[in-house]
Amino acid sequence: MSDTGQWCLIESDPGVFTELIGAFNVRGTQVEEVWSLDEQTLEDLKPVYGLIFLFKWQGGNDSSRLHPEADLSVDENVYFAKQVINNACATQAILSILLNCPMIDLGADLENFKDFTRLFDPYNKGLAITNSELIRGVHNSFARSDPFFLDQTDQSSSEKEDIFHFISYVPVQGALYELDGLSNGPVNLGPCTEDDWLEKVRPVIQERMSRYTSAEIRFNLLALIKNREDVYQARIGEIEGRMLRSNNSGELMQLREGMEQLLQRIELEKVKFKRYERENSLRKHNFVQFIYNILRILAERGELQARIEYARKEMSKRIKDRAEKKKGEGSKN
């Protein structure tokens, strides 16, 4: 029996994923949430290395059933790993993209891992991921300070811990692949190029979205993209080159404006990364002492009782709302 170790649940948040990838020593990438599949949105994100579709797992069905005619044969060009344990799936989805994308600077650790496991079959690749101290260590550094994973925005849905499932979409050597660790193999969705793969993947993801929307299943879409600041710096470099060559004052003004915009965007990226860092440290923090001390202060000031009464009222309101909602649903049927 192999030791599959213990994997914590991590939150599917672009800030978490971005820091996670950085912790693997992968350079020059970041993760962004994709809110719309329209052309402009995707264009702005380019270069996109891969997409991760995340949804609340219903159990049972592996995604290959959605593509009955798909070719599941294991292509040695594609790094495909079976998902051995559940909680690792977020990290596994990220690895599915990282390990299939030659444009990404993986860093020595993941490069070694990829070489070492290249010839493994999908199951053993999955096992290798699960057993990798490096990967598990990074993944687990994002442990919440408790094992209770609950969506605080919608308490009524908290009857069971939600299990999320992640599927990656990535272009590999001229073909678009859907990589789902629960599937039997990589799903080849047809030929594509680096340029048109996002157009090809759009209907596939739209189909999934419409299925999950009608079933009221929560989902979201994340993109693993080139680090924005790097992209903007490169563009600034281009602009500077053109400015040197240009002596048309109108063009120069335009270029300068373009540069201003890029500098502003870089500022925004910096702010965003600061925010990620802060959120991640709050995410990892154990707040028990903090909470206890506020409550103690409230108690000493004689204000705690009033808060308890307020909380009771809020709770009975919530219960009433829920009962009414239930009743409403009941009468519909």
């Binding site: 599959t4 170790g5 213990q6 994997w7 914590c8 649940l9 344990i85 559940n86 101290e133 598990r136 260590g137 687990n140 550094s141 994002f142 442990a143 919440r144 300070s145 408790d146 094992p147 209770f148 994973f149 609950l150 605080q152 308490q155 908290s158 009857e159 069971k160 811990e161 802060r278 440290s281 709050l282 995410r283 990892k284 923090h285 154990n286 707040f287 028990v288 002492q289 903090f290 909470i291 206890y292 001390n293 506020i294 409550l295 103690r296 202060i297 409230l298 108690a299 000493e300 705690l304 009782q305 808060r307 308890i308 909380a311 009771r312 809020e314 709770m315 009975s316 219960i319 009962a323």
Partner: protein, 350 residues
Amino acid sequence: MATSLFPTPVPRRKYPVEFKAGKLKREGTTNLLKADERKGLVYMDQGEDQLMHFYWKDRKSNTVEDDLILFPEEAEFIRVDQCTTGRVYLLNFKSSSRKLFFWMQDAKDDKDEENVAKVNRLINDPQGGLAESRQQSNTGQLGSPFQNMDDLAGFGMDQEQLLQLLQGHGAFNGPPFTSTTPASEPQSATAATSEAGSGAQTTDSNLGLTSEQLGNLRNILSGIQVPEGTRQPDVNLIDVLTPSAIGPLLNNPEIASALFPHLPANIERSPEELAAVIQSPQFAQALQSLSIALQSGQLGPLLTQLGLDPSAGNGVEAFLRAIQEQANRRHRDHEDENAEDHSGDRMEED
């Protein structure tokens, strides 16, 4: 009393209050009461609608004949002193003329007063009443969210190990790895968790749970949240510590500096940052998680490390009450000390 982690199932669930009693019926339209001879049971419990119900059932046929929903302060349960031939009690609805009479059928009357007090407590303060009765019958109740805890025994876990698990520095993130996260280093961990946390470092590897067991365990833990219908509607810390309620306190420098040590290391020590933290979704998440952990009833030992009474582990309200009691106690001690100071007892200086 220590909470048993793996309670032995009791054959029947004990209600928060129950006692043998028969009904009394009015004869026609007169004011005369006539005893219904049937053997009955009065009991109260929270229904699936989360509301407090008052039941009377026929003990022989085991059929529930009366099922009344009681809202707080809506009714009172009182002794009818005018009746001298038996122990007769009245459930009197304050908002209507509705009256229900009962006669005690237990041979002994030593529990009467206690039962009546319990009924009134459950009517007027359902949460407090339920928490109290839970505390008293700590032997585990079928139908409580903790029935699943029996399953934990199958993993060969003891209470210590479960605690470590609940604290998150245990089984879910193996010890060799937790060192990469600042939050789980003992020095930055809370005083309460550091001890158990360092324990986790050594015992964790002995847990030897397979991924399958862990998966099952996770299901059990998530099963604790299952509630709907079984969970008592305890309060949620999210409602207690709303940003609008605690925000103003943070401008008080004394309060702010009492909280600074408990912030993550890379957060600036300023009232503005404190305000931002308490409004963050991560803080809300922490409140939610702690509420659930408290409702699970298994944090007692951890809470005693905060100097709280073990009963603090019986739910969020119990936790809050224990903090209040602790504050009152400190206040009294402080006053006593002051009194001593002034009494001139401290003659010998050292």
